[in-house]
């Protein structure tokens, strides 16, 4: 559906907070047929369990400290306990496998496998300008991995993301970019041409490695060509101004908030249907009232009540950002549904108990996506259900035909 309607209507009156032209008006689709998206948010330092989990399962649960911060969204989300990927370990090494569910991260010879966002992005291809977007609150580490276990660097500057997505660039810049892209393609072509000569003279084991290189060259070339096709179409413009990056790492909340504000824009403009956001590296003392130590140190609270009190403040602030995100996603309509209804929104962590680096019992909230919500669903805390089962469900909800992902053992239903 390479349509020309889009061009006429690319000036989307979409802004972070205010009006939006619904997606279906642009594409002439209804909410039923408009695509589902996925959003994966990981807070790598966990959530203090007693403040996270309600005491009783079901729809009548009494909200925990954190959940009471999300009370206006209670009917739009489900809380899970007893989920985690099997065979995780190491200290913070399970960060890299949270989206891939690969076993034994960090052990000798470990190689990561494809992450669920990339799995989905591969299936979708370039139906959007970006098959996926990997964002981070700090630094290039993402949780997105290719099937060869190579990390896809995250973008951590909202202004850069915004520019990439929405700023057209001056004609000479666009021309230059296109030139670079063409150059890139012809370079990759020429490298591909060396394949025969290089492989002929190498040993069988080298051939295998070099084939992988040439395959990567071919795929990079395909990517550039798809990206090139998108370059010929104007970018959607949005009303909101370019976000001003917060360089002060201590302003954790500000930085998260800024990233989260991009999400509705990305979805409204259908720039990508798979987004992952990792909240990490929280260096510097967060600028939060009553917090006097770094986030990581507080996560190792050593059961010191004064530290736990500070940790609660930080995590509440992050939960607050998440609440704002859900709020914003509900403000915007796409067809008859809200953006949240169209987006499977996952918030969780790779650590169940950060103080002991325990990778089991991940705190998990799934919101939106048009699913049945409102309850607290418990799974066995001593013998966890694979978190991959939830990923499979999300993939299926995105209309992908798959009944397994990595270490999943089935599909999570509730």
């Amino acid at each position: 559906m390479k349509n020309h309607n889009l061009n006429r209507r690319t000036f989307l009156r979409a802004s972070g907070i205010s009006l939006a032209i619904p997606w279906l008006e642009v594409f002439g689709k209804t909410a039923e047929t408009s695509p589902k998206r996925s959003l994966f948010i990981c807070n790598t330092l966990g959530f203090y369990p007693p403040a996270f989990y309600p005491s009783k399962p079901g729809t009548t649960y009494e909200a925990s400290d954190y959940l009471s911060l999300l009370k206006e969204h209670r009917d739009d989300l489900t809380v899970f306990s007893g989920l985690s990927h099997p065979d995780q370990g190491g200290e913070h090494q399970c960060e890299m496998t949270w989206l891939s569910a690969a076993r034994n991260p960090g052990r000798d010879g470990f190689r990561n496998s494809i992450s669920v966002d990339q799995f989905a992005a591969r299936k979708l291809g370039y139906v959007t300008r970006f098959p996926s977007l990997s964002l981070s609150s700090d630094g290039p580490m993402s949780q997105s991995y290719t099937e060869n276990g190579v990390m896809i660097p995250a973008m951590d500057r909202p202004s850069e993301v915004f520019t990439k997505l929405f700023l057209q660039g001056k004609p000479h810049q666009v021309a230059r970019e296109k030139e670079k892209l063409r150059d890139g393609r012809s370079i990759l072509d020429s490298l591909g041409d060396q394949r025969g000569r290089i492989l002929r003279k190498s040993s069988s084991s080298d051939q295998e490695r070099l084939e992988a290189y040439f395959e990567a060259v071919r795929e990079a070339e395909r990517n550039l060509s798809e990206a090139g096709a998108w370059m010929d179409r104007p970018k959607p413009s949005v009303k909101s101004p370019v976000p001003e990056d917060i360089t002060d790492k201590a302003d954790l909340v500000g930085r998260i908030e800024l990233l989260f504000q991009l999400v509705p824009l990305i979805i409204q403009t259908d720039s990508s249907r798979v987004i992952s956001i990792v909240i990490q590296n929280n260096h510097g003392i967060p600028l939060i009232n009553g917090v006097a130590a770094e986030h990581h140190n507080l996560s190792h609270h050593g059961r010191d009540p004064k530290k736990i009190a500070q940790l609660l403040k930080i995590e509440s602030a992050i939960m607050g950002c998440f609440g704002n995100l859900l709020h914003r996603m509900k403000e915007h309509q796409e067809g008859g549904a809200t953006l949240l209804d169209q987006t499977l929104t996952l918030l969780g962590s790779n650590l169940g108990n950060a103080a002991a680096h325990d990778p089991r019992n991940n705190p998990i909230i799934l919101a939106g996506g048009g699913l049945k919500h409102g309850g607290y669903v418990t799974h066995n805390r001593n013998d966890n259900t694979p978190l991959g089962n939830l990923f499979v469900r999300m993939l299926q909800e995105m209309s992908m035909e798959t009944d397994a992902f990595s270490t999943s053992s089935g599909v999570l239903r509730w």
């Binding site: 099997p86 370990g89 991260p105 052990r107 000798d108 010879g109 470990f110 190689r111 700090d138 630094g139 290039p140 580490m141 290719t146 276990g149 190579v150 990390m151 896809i152 500057r157 030139e179 150059d183 890139g184 012809s186 370079i187 990759l188 020429s190 490298l191 060396q194 290089i198 190498s202 040993s203 069988s204 084991s205 080298d206 295998e208 490695r209 070099l210 992988a212 290189y213 040439f214 990567a216 060259v217 795929e219 990079a220 002060d248 510097g284 003392i285 130590a293 770094e294 990581h296 140190n297 190792h300 050593g302 059961r303 010191d304 004064k306 108990n353 103080a355 002991a356 325990d358 089991r360």
Partner: protein
């Protein structure tokens, strides 16, 4: 079933080759193994299913494990009946031969090392050396697989379209930096006058409660009191003084500074930072003694977007413990750093356009345009000039002579660009980007068998320099002389003398001893207020200098366990409580006899990377000793066990918590090995300070020591440290000094591990079964001279493993 089919199936399942060792093993398996290792038991090894097909890599690896465990006597377990000696010996001998033959045959067919890709760090250094640039390129590439022992291990390296696109982009950025045709910038020294600058003036005048009055203007100087560089002191940032780095290059900063209102020495620091880059970089620190003006100078590579800033360290507070923020600079009586004069000079280029651009472009002329920009005037046709550049750069980049038609073939890529009228520079760019993304640039590959001289030059220079062979190595290779053992020895000595050898030291230690994780956690500011960037840098410096000294003076690996010397500056010496070291320059210091320091394990860098920011645990530290020093990594905990949750309230110690854990036999099996080294290291806090009592955020009494010239109020003194324990072999130790004596008995094992690490790192492949004999030979020879580190490096380079693919 058809009889032939049965036979065929049998043959398929059991290659003839495996038959002999199956026959030799069956009796042993029946007698001693199968009870615990069959399909019905829950041990990970199932001998009924394993099979004997050694050509299968997983089966092969499993049999190597079996060989090692039976050979070392670890299996069958001590409690079980001893196997019959004759049966066991025969089984081991047969298996040994089969494993060795299989491994050797594979090496003969494929070589030991598969095609190895440049690592992130190697890519960066290579581009620097090739193009004369200095910028940060590594961060443009995907990170390496951290689960591999070394990122140089070819078999663990990944490649993906993300890599390919990153290479294109990184090469582009590198070429941008290499070809500099912009306006000639101002290069002469310029004064940065913080005192009279408009921006800083605002902060002299502004009230304290509005964020001002933290810096002071005196008659002759600009005085800093805020020693928290992590808070990015905007008043001291060069960019706020209107200083920009117009082009990438080396710049010189010269400062005249003195200690202000100081009774003890203070430290003056210079940082490089960039709003886009994640980290501030401490690029210089100097000690200022009371009453003396000091002129200091540093040269550093800066790029557009970078800025630098000034920060003090080592400042004593007022005796009442107040800092500048509670009093204001105007009335503050405590220590500070006064800057009297500061100049910036550069880019330090002898000519313009700079040398690196001229070197790359070759014999061309430059014409200055109306706006001051330069354009290239060619004597040849663009195509000829591009060929000329390729014929110069190509052999260095590809580390071999070019074939006759090669420059033409590469240059042909520029054709469409030139034809579309985009000119010489654009055409050259495309060609260079292709060259620098090509498989022969990015990979070290060679035919199985002995490396030719050029491949050997490549392996050698990437081992010790992490970069391209230089002219001398290429010259020797061209003359076919590098394979001469004496020439190799001379070259290794020469290369170790070269400054570039520090890249090896850094990269090897970053990975062998996990020093790359130094910033993985930040020490808690309340518990460890004395930690700062100056101390952090000193920690790394000590370990690097120590390691290099071991190479330089060919010291035995026993020194890794204990030594009577280390490398210190005042800052680190104070941290260690060692008197008499002045200034921030590092020097070799003989340790007092009663000092617990000496060797690697008691160096603050190691103690820091094995702790987290708040607390230490014997488990990661013990595990570090077993894995990184002794080469016997403990098996990871079974999943679903979790770990001990530390408690820093001051009521219980980690040892008490661990004791409960160790009560369980399933835990104790490994923890009796893991915990003892960690217990011995309990005497050291997360930043490597020696402690008799734990620091606590809760219970405890006030420390008697002073901090920054004032009483300590951040933390309290918790329970006493117990660093005693019982080693796995049953020997008791009272603390670290005792424990080192026990470790010293394992010198041979440590040498074995260090040698394995060097071989794996240098050759790009872990030790394989067929390598064992040669490795053991090297070890034996090294043992005669006390396992000298330099001698081991020489032996590695001379080995068959190093000189063959």
């Amino acid at each position: 079933m058809n009889q032939f089919l049965t036979i065929a199936l049998l043959l398929f399942a059991l290659p003839i080759y495996g038959q002999a060792f199956k026959e030799a093993w069956d009796p042993l398996v029946e007698a001693s193994c199968i009870d615990c290792h069959d399909a019905d038991t829950d041990t990970p090894l199932n001998l009924e299913k394993l099979g004997h097909d050694l050509s299968d890599t997983a089966t092969f690896r499993q049999w190597v494990k079996i060989f090692d465990q039976v050979d070392s006597g670890e299996m069958p377990p001590k409690k079980k009946k001893r196997p019959d000696r004759v049966i066991k010996d025969k089984a081991l001998a047969t298996l040994h031969q089969h494993l060795r033959d299989t491994s050797a045959a594979r090496q003969k067919r494929d070589g030991r090392t598969v095609a190895r890709r440049l690592t992130q760090a190697e890519y960066e250094y290579t581009m620097h050396d090739l193009l004369g640039i200095g910028g940060d390129l590594a961060s443009k590439l995907p990170p390496e697989n951290t689960s591999s022992t070394f990122d140089t291990i070819a078999a663990d390296q990944g490649i993906s379209p993300v890599h390919i696109r990153s290479y294109l982009a990184a090469a582009d950025a590198a070429i941008d930096e290499a070809i500099e045709l912009g306006r000639k910038p101002r290069m002469e020294p310029r004064l940065i006058d913080y005192r009279n600058n408009f921006y800083s003036s605002m902060w002299f005048e502004r009230e304290l409660r509005r964020g001002g009055n933290t810096v002071l203007r005196t008659d002759d100087a600009y005085v800093l009191f805020d020693n928290r560089p992590q808070r990015s002191p905007h008043t001291n940032q060069s960019n706020n003084m209107g200083i920009r780095f117009p082009v990438p290059g080396r710049y010189r900063i010269v400062a005249e500074a003195y200690a202000y209102q100081a009774k003890t020495p203070v430290t003056f620091c210079l940082y490089r930072a960039n709003d886009r880059a994640p980290k501030r970089e401490l690029i210089g620190s100097w000690q200022l003694d009371p009453g003396k003006l000091r002129k200091v100078e540093i040269e550093h590579y800066f790029r557009p977007g970078d800025f630098f800033f000034l920060a003090p360290s080592d400042l004593d507070a007022t005796p009442q413990g107040r800092n500048v923020f509670s009093i204001g600079a105007k009335d503050y009586p405590g220590e500070g750093v006064a800057i009297r004069r500061l100049t910036l000079e550069g880019p330090l280029e002898k000519q313009w356009p700079p040398e690196r651009s001229r070197d790359l472009l070759g014999e061309v002329e430059f014409r200055i345009g109306p706006k001051g920009n330069y354009s290239i005037v060619l004597g040849n046709s663009p195509m000829e000039q591009i060929e000329e550049v390729v014929s110069r750069i190509g052999p260095r980049a590809l580390r071999r002579p070019l074939r006759e038609n090669e420059p033409k073939a590469w240059a042909a890529l520029a054709k469409p660009v030139l034809e579309s009228g985009r000119g010489f520079e654009e055409g050259l760019r495309v060609v260079l980007r292709a060259l620098l993304s090509s498989p022969e640039f990015l990979y070290h590959e060679a035919a199985p068998g002995a490396l030719d001289d050029f491949a050997l030059a490549t392996r050698l220079s990437y081992f010790l320099w992490k970069s391209l062979p230089d002219d001398q190595l290429l010259f020797l290779a061209a003359g076919g002389r590098l394979n001469d053992p004496e020439v190799l020895t001379t070259q290794v000595d020469r290369m170790l003398e070269d400054e570039k050898a520090q890249r090896f030291v850094e990269d090897f230690l970053d990975q062998w001893l996990d020093l790359q994780d130094i910033d993985a956690t930040t020490p808690d500011e309340k518990l460890y207020p004395e930690y700062d960037d100056v101390l952090r840098q000193a920690m790394l410096e000590e370990t690097r200098r120590f390691f290099f000294e071991m190479i330089r003076s060919d010291l035995g690996v026993g020194k890794f366990i204990d030594s009577d010397f280390t490398f210190l500056n005042r800052r680190l010496a104070e941290h260690y409580g060692i008197p008499g070291v002045q200034g921030l320059n590092f020097r070799k210091v003989t340790l007092p006899t009663e000092s617990p320091r000496g060797g690697l394990l008691t160096q603050a860098s190691i103690l820091k990377v094995t702790a987290n920011g708040t607390n230490t645990s014997p488990v990661p530290r013990g595990s570090f000793v077993l894995a990184n020093l002794l080469g016997t990594p403990p098996s990871p905990p079974p999943t679903g066990v979790g770990s001990v949750e530390p408690d820093t309230r001051g009521a219980t110690t980690i040892r008490e918590e661990l004791a409960a854990h160790r009560g369980m036999e399933s835990c104790n099996r490994c923890h009796r090995e893991i915990d003892p080294p960690g217990f011995a290291l309990e005497s050291f806090d997360p930043i490597g300070g020696f402690r008799i009592r734990y620091r606590s955020t809760g219970q405890g009494d006030r420390p008697l020591t002073k901090l920054f010239g004032r009483p300590v109020r951040e933390y309290r003194m918790g329970p006493r440290v117990d660093a005693s324990g019982t080693a796995a072999g049953g020997e008791r130790f009272a603390g670290i000094r005792d424990f080192k004596r026990l470790l010293l008995k394992k010198e041979e094992q440590i040498a074995h591990h260090v040698l394995n690490q060097l071989i794996a790192y240098a050759t790009g492949a872990e030790i394989q079964f067929a390598d064992r004999e040669e490795r053991d030979g090297i070890l034996e020879v090294a043992g005669r001279d006390g396992h000298g580190l330099r001698a081991m490096i020489h032996s590695v380079v001379q080995s068959r493993m190093f000189r063959n693919k």
